[in-house]
């Protein structure tokens, strides 16, 4: 039986396979290291990192919804300084791509974090989360405005010596406009989607189920929205695209790859099955080998359009 080549490249970033874990759903990798071999993964995207430590939102922070979940973690994280001191040395020992997801509440904060990661080895790429509120502009997310998204991208690129992946927000009228803007700004790759904004209400107590009132919807419920946005963006830009959203098994991952994504990220599925990423890699391998497909490249973008 022929062994399928699962290698993919995202710009200058080489991955041993197209399966990464999504930011915020896999901690810093350490949490999972005792139950699985992280080096089997195509890569790990660590928890969103900001310049200063952030406490996050008051609880309750999560609530289950039909085939999904809402989260309002509030991007809690330990901040750049502690990340470099406490997490990077451990991450440097890994033999898989390590992508650092960064965010800020101002454009300056974004570039400051990017600068702080400059020259640090063991970090394969930076993923820019533009889905968080822009305090300078009335709290609408950076990612909802193509121009602002482009500006964040430029500033990060100025300061960064690593491949820059911009992660798009799905809560927009035209995802293609944002994708084109960040490509024009020089982004090396695009990942999508981040969570859809949603809310759930406790009808007995008549209060929002999340202390933050609203949160981000993730899980299989949102997969059809994610697949369509990836399909649109792949047909709009020339930089590689990473598909994210509701991937639970290898068949879900294949939808994104066939639509044209060069890689995928697995998020909420890590909570349901901590080994989801590895199971998906195995599933992709078997799917290809059963069909004598020699390279995963032959799958990527192979959608036959009716």
């Amino acid at each position: 039986m022929s062994v399928t080549d699962l290698k993919v490249t995202i710009g200058s970033l080489e991955l041993k396979n197209p399966v990464l874990t999504a930011s915020g759903t896999f901690g810093y990798g350490q949490e999972f290291s005792s139950i699985m071999d992280l080096n089997l993964l195509g890569g790990i995207v660590v928890k969103g990192l900001s310049l200063k430590p952030r406490p996050g939102n008051p609880p309750p922070r999560i609530v289950e919804t039909p085939c999904g979940m809402l989260n309002a973690i509030g991007l809690a994280n330990i901040g750049l300084e502690r990340f470099l001191k406490e997490k990077v040395p451990w991450l440097q020992e890994l033999d898989t791509a390590v992508v650092v997801n960064i965010y800020g509440h101002s454009i300056d904060e974004y570039s400051a974090v990017a600068e702080g990661l400059r020259g640090v080895d063991g970090i394969s790429a930076i993923e820019v989360n533009i889905s968080c509120p822009n305090v300078e502009y009335g709290g609408m997310a950076f990612g909802t405005d193509p121009d602002v998204s482009a500006r964040v991208t430029e500033k990060v690129l100025e300061k960064s010596d690593k491949p820059v992946i911009v992660k798009l927000s799905p809560n927009v009228t035209d995802i293609r406009a944002v994708a084109m803007a960040v490509e024009k700004a020089g982004a090396h790759a695009i990942s999508l989607i981040n969570t859809l904004t949603g809310m759930a209400i406790d009808i007995d107590r008549r209060v929002p189920r999340l202390a933050n009132v609203f949160g981000g919807l993730s899980g299989p419920a949102i997969r059809p929205v994610a697949v369509y946005m990836v399909y649109q963006v792949v047909r709009t830009v020339n930089i590689p695209v990473i598909g994210v959203g509701g991937i639970m098994d290898y068949r879900d991952a294949l939808e994104f790859l066939i639509a044209g994504a060069h890689a995928v990220q697995v998020g909420t599925a890590n909570f349901v099955n901590p080994e989801a990423g590895i199971d998906i890699i195995e599933g992709l391998k078997k799917f290809c080998e059963d069909r004598k497909i020699e390279s995963i490249q032959d799958i990527i973008g192979s959608l036959v359009n009716s």
Partner: protein, 263 residues
């Protein structure tokens, strides 16, 4: 910590809407400590999506661990239909359990409703000592039979809200009575698990009277291993650390570590 597909050895009804689940895993049974919990994948379908957290309430032999649970919703209802021979994915043991009392201390265990589960495991571990186990229920018909659970050596003193058995009133009154009787004797240490209102009252009393006390908390959880930060509770010293993660820093906490007003 292990991720395993465990065999269901038994899943028997031990009370109204209450079940005792026996799962086989040598590794988890060997590693399990009182107060720790497991994340159980109750559904093989996409809905409900997330695993459910359950305390480990004991072990049997060298490869069986027990979960005592009540059916309160969809996930526990699905779990209650599991049969011998089914395989259930389990992640565990997880979290920080109880710190054992030292030989000088007199352990007072206070349980409300299903809060009994983790304390049963603790009680077995410190069996030898002259500890006191207090269990509070809404009504007599909810009382868990220790024989059913296979722990006839434990004889809890009972309280019920409606007075249909034991002391009439919250179990916290049993505790407070014990503490005053006991005031002369060995220094007490309190271990509590149960509904939030009960825990709050235990906490206030313990803090006011400066009695060492450990509580086991519950929150909704997604990952159970410190990765999602979904299970936060406010700490009492925000300047040092604003939030604890119940799944990792807990579920057992020193009563003084928690900001009870925020709960």
């Amino acid at each position: 910590m292990y991720q395993q597909n465990t065999d269901v050895i038994f899943n028997k009804r031990v009370g109204p809407e209450t079940f005792l689940l026996g799962l086989r895993s040598g590794e988890i049974a060997a590693e399990a400590a009182p107060g720790q919990f497991v994340m159980i994948q109750v559904s093989h379908d996409l809905n409900p999506l997330l695993r459910r957290p359950f305390s480990i309430c004991g072990t049997q032999g060298d490869d069986l661990f027990l979960v005592l649970y009540r059916v309160v919703g969809q996930g526990t209802a699905i779990l209650s239909r599991a049969r011998k021979g089914d395989r259930i994915p389990v992640l565990g043991p997880l979290g920080r359990g109880f710190e054992f009392p030292d030989d000088q201390q007199k352990p007072l265990l206070v349980a409300g409703g299903m809060g009994t589960a983790p304390l049963l495991f603790l009680a077995q571990a410190i069996e030898s000592r002259d500890m006191i186990f207090m269990a509070g229920y809404r009504s007599a018909d909810e009382i868990l039979s220790m024989d059913e659970i296979g722990l006839s050596n434990i004889e809890p003193s009972i309280s019920t809200d409606d007075g249909t058995a034991g002391h009439k009133g919250p179990v916290t009154e049993l505790l407070e009575a014990q503490l005053s009787i006991n005031s002369a004797g060995a220094p007490p240490v309190v271990f509590a698990c149960g509904p939030l209102p009960m825990l709050k009252r235990v906490a206030r009393h313990a803090i006011d009277h400066n009695i060492p006390c450990q509580v086991s908390l519950e929150t909704t959880m997604a990952c159970g291993i410190g990765a999602c930060q979904g299970c936060a509770v406010k700490s009492s010293s925000p300047e040092i650390r604003p939030y604890y993660h119940v799944c990792q820093d807990g579920p057992v906490f020193d009563v003084k570590a928690i900001d009870w007003k925020a709960l």
